[in-house]
Amino acid sequence: MHTNGTNSGQFENLRLELRRGCLAVAVLGQLRTELYGYAIRKALSEQGLAIDENTLYPLLRRLESQGLLVSQWREEDKRNKRFYRISPVGEEVLASLLAEWRQMNSALERILAVPAGKTEEQIQ
């Protein structure tokens, strides 16, 4: 028998799995405009996708090492900040990822539109 604790633990694991891929897409999408690390966190958070620094900075480095982002250190408000923006390769990958995302989303919508215990043929 599952306890509430087990269920919430399972939910948390699945939520993290679900978020992992989405965050990369969200960061690539956000960086169509050049931003530095803390500003990316704030921008994503304001749009309802909070991300902590321990997730964001390693992700930025990974995406940059894959050639999807470019970065440069610049001074702003008397402090050195690292500004990121999406690279041309990143833009191509983002477009493919969004197409994949939309396809999965519409498939998911179709799956969930069928009530439990019925098949699509039975509905039609």
Binding site: Y38, R41, N54, R61
Partner: protein, 331 residues
């Protein structure tokens, strides 16, 4: 403590765990992020953060080790897919091979001794490294398998996969398992008991001396035992026959025959026996008897191995001629 000192300490602690090449770059970015967050909090509160608030903020960000772990490339010792087999092998070897050997070997000295507890403690002091030694060897084997499996794991062809056995090779399955268990028992005995050993001395003063050739061939025999056990494990996990398996067995058979011949061609005794209460004539008879038995064993080993050479050769010949069905259940 001032806020700037707290921040410095925190960043320095993170630095310790970071990959050396990226340390300064990552720290500069983390420092900038931290200062931006502090500024945000201070502007919301319209005052500087006090020490407790800064401590709470740093705690919320996570421990230095946790922060740094995100930047460290994922590393592993053993492929997670192989972990169940790794645990199974460890369990078998430690519980069903090493433990019985240690119990058997310790039983005599402990119960013959006038001070069993002392004898037990002496035995434990002498043999406590044995499990670590065995775990180390097994872990190294799985590490090497993981390290080099990428070289062959993707080079596959569905047509070259092993055939499905025509019938369930139950008997062979037991043989392979027994071969692995006894092989590991022999390996463990050789690795633990015979390591750096030139003689066995018993409490009564009775001693069995080993000829130097055992030391000269020690590593070769140890490697052969390990390879034999691993081949049996592989046959147990993958029961369907393939040509590579027979070739490996043939190579091991060859090494085994060479070792047996090297031992046989040695002129002097393989073991010497002496004891304080044993008359020289009795000792000589005993030495002659034991060495005679060893000679018979050493003659039998190449003969039995030659049968296996014949069997593996026949399997390979039949596979080459396309007569695959009867050999599927054989290893």
């Amino acid at each position: 403590m001032s806020n700037s000192e707290l921040i410095e300490r925190y960043l320095n602690a993170v630095k310790l765990w970071l990959p050396r090449k990226q340390q300064m770059d990552i720290l500069a970015e983390l420092s900038e992020d931290l200062h931006s967050q502090i500024e945000d909090r201070e502007s919301a509160a319209s005052r500087p953060l006090n020490e407790d608030e800064l401590v709470a903020l740093l705690k919320q960000r996570g421990s230095p080790m946790r922060i740094a772990s995100g930047y460290i490339p994922e590393q592993r010792l053993i492929n997670p897919a192989m972990l169940p087999i790794y645990w199974m092998v460890l369990r078998i070897v430690l519980l069903w091979v090493l433990a019985p050997i240690l119990v058997t070997v310790s039983f005599g000295p402990i119960f013959r001794s006038g001070h069993p507890l002392m004898a037990f403690m002496r035995f434990m002091a002498a043999s406590w490294q044995a499990p670590f030694f065995v775990i180390g060897i097994i872990t190294t084997i799985f590490f090497l398998l993981d390290r080099y499996q990428d070289q062959w794991v993707d080079r596959w062809d569905p047509r070259k996969l092993p055939r499905v056995p025509a019938s369930h090779p139950q008997m062979q399955w037991y043989n392979d398992f027994a071969g692995f268990a006894f092989g590991m028992a022999a390996f463990t005995f050789w690795a633990v008991i015979m390591r750096h050993r030139s003689e066995f001395v018993f409490d009564t003063g009775f001693r069995i001396g080993l000829a130097p050739i055992w030391g000269q061939l020690y590593w070769l025999i140890l490697a052969l035992m390990l390879m034999r056990a691993l081949v049996n494990l592989y046959c147990f996990v993958r029961p369907a026959w393939n040509a590579a398996r027979s070739w490996i067995r043939l190579a091991l058979d060859g090494v085994e025959i060479v070792i047996a011949l090297l031992l046989l061609l040695r002129v002097a005794n393989w073991v010497d026996i002496a004891g304080p209460n044993v008359a020289p004539t009795d000792a000589a008879k005993l030495v002659q008897l034991v060495n005679g038995m060893m000679q018979v064993s050493l003659i039998l080993i190449p003969v039995i191995t030659a049968f296996d050479v014949y069997r593996q050769g026949r399997l390979l010949r039949r596979a080459k001629n396309g007569q695959s069905a009867p050999i599927l259940t054989l290893s």
